[in-house]
Amino acid sequence: MSAAAPEVRRRRNRLLVLLGIFGPGLIAANAGNDAGGILTYASAGSQFAYRTLFAMVLVTVGLVVVQEMSARLGAHTGEGLVSLIREQFPLRMAAFAVAALVVANLGLVVSEFAGIGAAMEIFGISRYLSVPLAAVGIWAAVVFGSYRYVERVFLLLSLVFVAYPVAAVLGHPDWATVGRQTAWPHFTAAHGFVLLVVALIGTTITPYMQLYQAASVADRGAGPADLRTIRIDAVAGAIFADLVSMCIIIATAAALGGHGPLASAQDAARALRPAAGSAASGLFAVGLLGASALAAAVVPLSTAYALAEAVGVERSVSRRFSEAPLFLGLFTVQVAVGGLVALVPGNLVALLVDMQVLNGAVAPVFLGFILVLANRRSVLGEAANGPRFRVVAAVCVAAVAGMALLVLLQTVGAWTGLAS
């Protein structure tokens, strides 16, 4: 199979080699700007105006640290994170990590289908029609193999969101406030605020992104020698992704800041008006649809792959899905569950943000595993975390865990009537 290929394909391969070293970090981190991401950032801007910007700075630090560790693990071991966890931890702990991953990803799938429903509602199409159709369509495209073409379309559609940075500038936000809220440390323990910060963490630092980062670095044959490039790519990708996220917050805050929680995707679309005028809501819907549909296929695939990796049959998910019943089954179940939950009556945007909170609550588990792996000299040798990095990374993971715990306590408190 190694003989010459037609020129076009070869040229593409060479491009992939280049992108392989420079690209994975950018792709991985920007996967966070999916349906859940966009509506969560928009919610933050709508509900708290610029006040979450400082939290986003902290989240960015966390994302940089985590993505860098994942890239280093991928480059040094040449393995995916899940197989590393299976090899390096007792089976029960590995199972716990995988369970956390499955929960987080399932939450994401739900939010992607909610995103599809919300986007179609802007066009006046009921979600009871759009969500089931989308679920069946995406399932069929993946299983019957035409997904690669469909994917390009979705990817193209989701590019609409480059309009956000433009809108953030044209929307005349109060730059003084933006600067102050970004640079000045501040925090409120109000339940709504904490909940949203956890949602921001959950949507920005998603286990799925770390998996992708490590796997793509390993898969493209980047080794310890390429570590410098890989690191730059991972860090730059994370920072770029979060700059886009912050633009979404700023644009939304300028348009409808302080109006309380986002009631619908239609509202969120108003933030694009300075850039797109009357086309804003149509444009927003198209972008949301693209981003949601893209992730609605990719996230269940990544879960199925991770499970296969954990069990040790990842290599047999090869070639055709029809030859891999376990893989196919897992994919099907996730799409079905995601579609069904998105049909539960209620506010789609709220459901979507709740799913990010779930992600944020589960995130510390997976981050903890990554931290322990990256600390181990038996795994990374000389490239293991140094003493200072260990402290920084541990503080990041602890902070994420602390926020998740706070939300949990507040929620339990609210249920039992002890807190407001």
């Binding site: 199979m1 010459a4 898969d219 493209r220 980047a222 990719v298 792959y305």
Partner: protein, 422 residues
Amino acid sequence: MTIRFLPTAARGLVSVAGLAGRPVRNPAGAEIGRAVDVVVRWDGAPYPPVTGVVARVGRRRAFVPADALSGLDADGVDLSSARLSLTDFERRDGELLLLADVVDHQMVDVDGVRVIRASDLYLARVGAWRLVGVDVGLQTLARRLGPARWRGRPTPGRVIDWAAIQPFGGPGPIRLRRTNQELHRLRPAELADLLEDLGRRERDALLGALGPETAADALEEMDAAELGVLLRETPAADAAPLVAEMEPDEAAEALRSLTEEDRSGILAAMPAGDAERLRGLLAHPEGTAGGLMTTVLVTAGTDETVAGVRDRLRSEVEHREEIDAVLVVDGQGRLIDDVSLFELLLAAPDARLGDLVAPPWPVVVDAGAPFEDVVDRLIDNRRSSLVVVDGRRRPIGRILADDVVDALVPGRGRRHFPRLLA
């Protein structure tokens, strides 16, 4: 084939995963510690003997040698003597820690020609305690997740005899001390599948164990993208001998997919002659006849005898898959005819090559001919190969039909997670 006794021994199997954390008892039945790991000596013999058990005694990791064991089962480890000199465990050469190095890790099932991940390992008493099988069952994973009393219960539903296993293992870069002899009987394409499926460490160990010649044959069969990844992540000094052993056209093709830096690194680490030949091939643009050809050619003058040419072919046996004919050239090295091995076989030993020159005349292309022309000429003429000639009709290479087939068929690699997205 090795003798397989696993089925008869199924009754007395001891689960290694189940031993973790089980009590270690003295002859009086009192617990003195907990089992941590089982150590075997792996010397290439089909069923490695257990050399001892690592136990946690107090805060120490102590080594209990096999001759001090009287019992080993799901309930725990029994010592034969009350007097036990506890030595701290230190890994000796050739020793594998079954729980740390082998369970949950990748290994090769040579009989099934596939890469597996061990869910559990089984020991049996065959004279001494020996490692006899690998469990790859899904339900075994479930059992290990379940309550403690399930964990030690063997579930030999899908067990592979250890004699068919090539394990890897040990910390740091793995160097295989002994390879499973059956591994050397696999076809290059089968080895290629295994190489594609193994993790980086395991794959490097396997490549090292196969030796450059066998390894190069396997590399030629690998998916182009996989091979590119392999060459990128292998240090140039290790990759160079492999590439040098590959057929020149395959090697050039593989090198083309690398960056300039990686490519020149590998070429620099190679014997000068091999590197020169590859540089020549790489000078031809890809997608042309020159970029597709092999430079392994056998040429003969019109005066040479059939017997003489046969002798020369004997020394080219390592290139047998690249040579399907002998080129007959004139005094200036220009192509006269392409005599197939079949014609050569039927000819009288004392016949001269000039006597065999006859239609059908060879099908030739220029080195610069585009890939589509190569395909067309091959289809029109139904040959097994084409001869590539320079401006003065001197042969410089040959394009084999199977290489054209490879180039026409789109890559069919497995789906890696990152490639699910791109």
